[in-house]
Amino acid sequence: MALEDVARPSAGARAMVMTVAAVPLLFVIGGLAIRYAAFASVSEETGFAAYARALCRWDCAWYIGISEQGYERFPIPNHSNVGRWSFFPLYPMLVAAIRFVFPYPTILIATVTSIACSYAACLVAWPLLENNMRAYVMYCAFLLSGPFSFHFTTFLSEPLFVLLTSCVFLALKRSSYLAAGVSSALLSATRLVGVFVVFATVIQMFSEHRRQGGSALSFPRWLLGRPDLLVAVLISPAGLFAYILLLYLTVGDGFAFLHVQRAFGRVAGNPLVFLWDGLSAVPTTGWLPTAPQWSALSAIAGLALSAGLAARRQYGAALFCALCIILPLITNLASMVRYVIGLAPLTMLLVVLLSASRLIWLAALVLFLGACYLMTVAWIGGYLALV
């Protein structure tokens, strides 16, 4: 009897683990099939290699360049004024390391690595979604078979960024500050905005301090008395600082990743003006929003969801997401859709909201899978809002 009692929950737990592992796997396969069908509908080529190349659009080419050749010194070869410096090194380095072991074309390695990262991001999301199976299924569908799944399955920074963001928030949820710090360090080497996650860590520490009965004023003293927390905070931006050092040694300018933005035509301006300009770019024919309108709408939706996180007392995640939207918005609306959908806390909140009703959940799931095909065709065709 006692043995049966032990065995039953263990069997149940095993089944749950199998389900949690199988759901994203199902969407990996489903997503590949849908995106391949979309690719086959617009391409005369066939095969996985051609598919991977076709999905490698926009910034993907920069990441391949970094992975294969590293960063340029100055002057940049071919009389170009646009260096690769604005693209952070961790993901291309990871792909280069894997390619060293498996000598296949970079885009093939990167595509498989991106799928693996997105799959792992789904697994990490399970505890973050409070073991909500409906939300989990929808989250896996969104990342791996959803309308923007090409962003998470080709050579862009998004797959690793989503994975590491989830790792940071899972570590914070478990009050494992050192693990959060190390994940944050990796995140800050993946994309510049990754460094903002340190604020979420500090907010979580502050909440813990308050829960223990500490006052707001005594927080700095409490923090200074905990070397493990100090290390967690100070190690968080280590990836960014390592990249600054690399650029200083390569180019002579540690802030080259910021300075090169000029060559891309990005200039600092008023985010509200950029939003208004985007919303005002009404279509000349038809009713579908223009690319600038999609970008502006996604920024607004992202900020609204950030407010939603704050309303749910997830202040750290809210601040992180809002900063990750506002910083690029200071320059313009370019890539805004990609930046917003790459913010894991926002996507998780969205799927939780959509999963509240079974009917809406089902409808959204069908919509995700259907839109995957159409959006992949648009991505391959170079639709500007998806850049």
Binding site: F74, R226, P227, L234, L245, D253, G269
Partner: protein
């Protein structure tokens, strides 16, 4: 493992180790920040990327040129023109090469000269009403030699003398075009995208 779970005998050592690591991290980050705030770059890099005092990133480009030759900046002369375009130009198109930004430069290698040069350029203004003219200041080897106000979309032939003072003993001729009325493609666009002229051809003759 939470900090409090470390056995007491090791806690002090772990605490000291933690502070040491925190100090190393903080120190390293301060040093790296100091390095980044003092970039070790040349003047061209600094002017374009950091100070943003120019839209034209100077590059090591010097084209060969024979006096009396006409260089076309239309598609038919793209290869030849590319060798003398230093910065501030788009690619050659059917109607000429568009300027980009607030300054453009050309650089050619020339034989030693005793006297002046006659430069003949074909240029057209980029206009967008209400702006219907483009003022261009042309300098050779840093010496201002000519100013022109272009109007109308049709190319105009512009000739001017390059005095010996501008030539000196230099074996290269750098022609800089400064635009006073560049038009940004959109109100929020970067100044590196301003449009001012279309250059159609260049010819240099010894006088």
């Amino acid at each position: 493992m939470p900090w409090s779970d470390i056995p007491a005998p090791y806690r002090r050592a772990a605490s000291l180790g933690g502070y040491a690591l925190a100090a190393v991290l903080a120190g390293s980050e301060i040093v790296i920040l100091a390095l980044a705030l003092n970039p070790n770059v040349n003047a061209d890099y600094r002017a374009y990327y950091i100070d943003q005092t120019t839209t034209c990133l100077n590059r090591d480009a010097t084209g060969s040129y024979t006096l009396g030759q006409t260089v076309s900046f239309r598609s038919d002369g793209a290869k030849r023109a590319a060798s003398i375009k230093v910065c501030g130009w788009s690619g050659s198109a059917g109607d000429g090469t568009h300027s980009l930004g607030e300054t453009s430069r050309l650089r050619v290698k020339i034989p030693p000269l005793r006297d002046s040069l006659m430069a003949t350029l074909q240029m057209a203004a980029v206009i967008r009403p209400p702006q219907i003219t483009q003022r261009v200041v042309i300098s050779v080897n840093g010496v201002r030699v000519h100013a022109e106000t272009l109007s109308g979309k049709e190319p105009r032939t512009v000739s001017f003398v390059v005095p010996p003072a501008a030539l000196g003993k230099a074996d290269t001729l750098e022609i800089a075009f400064d635009y006073l009325d560049g038009i940004p493609p959109t109100p929020a666009a970067s100044d590196i995208y301003k449009r001012s002229i279309k250059l159609v051809s260049l010819r240099l003759d010894a006088i």
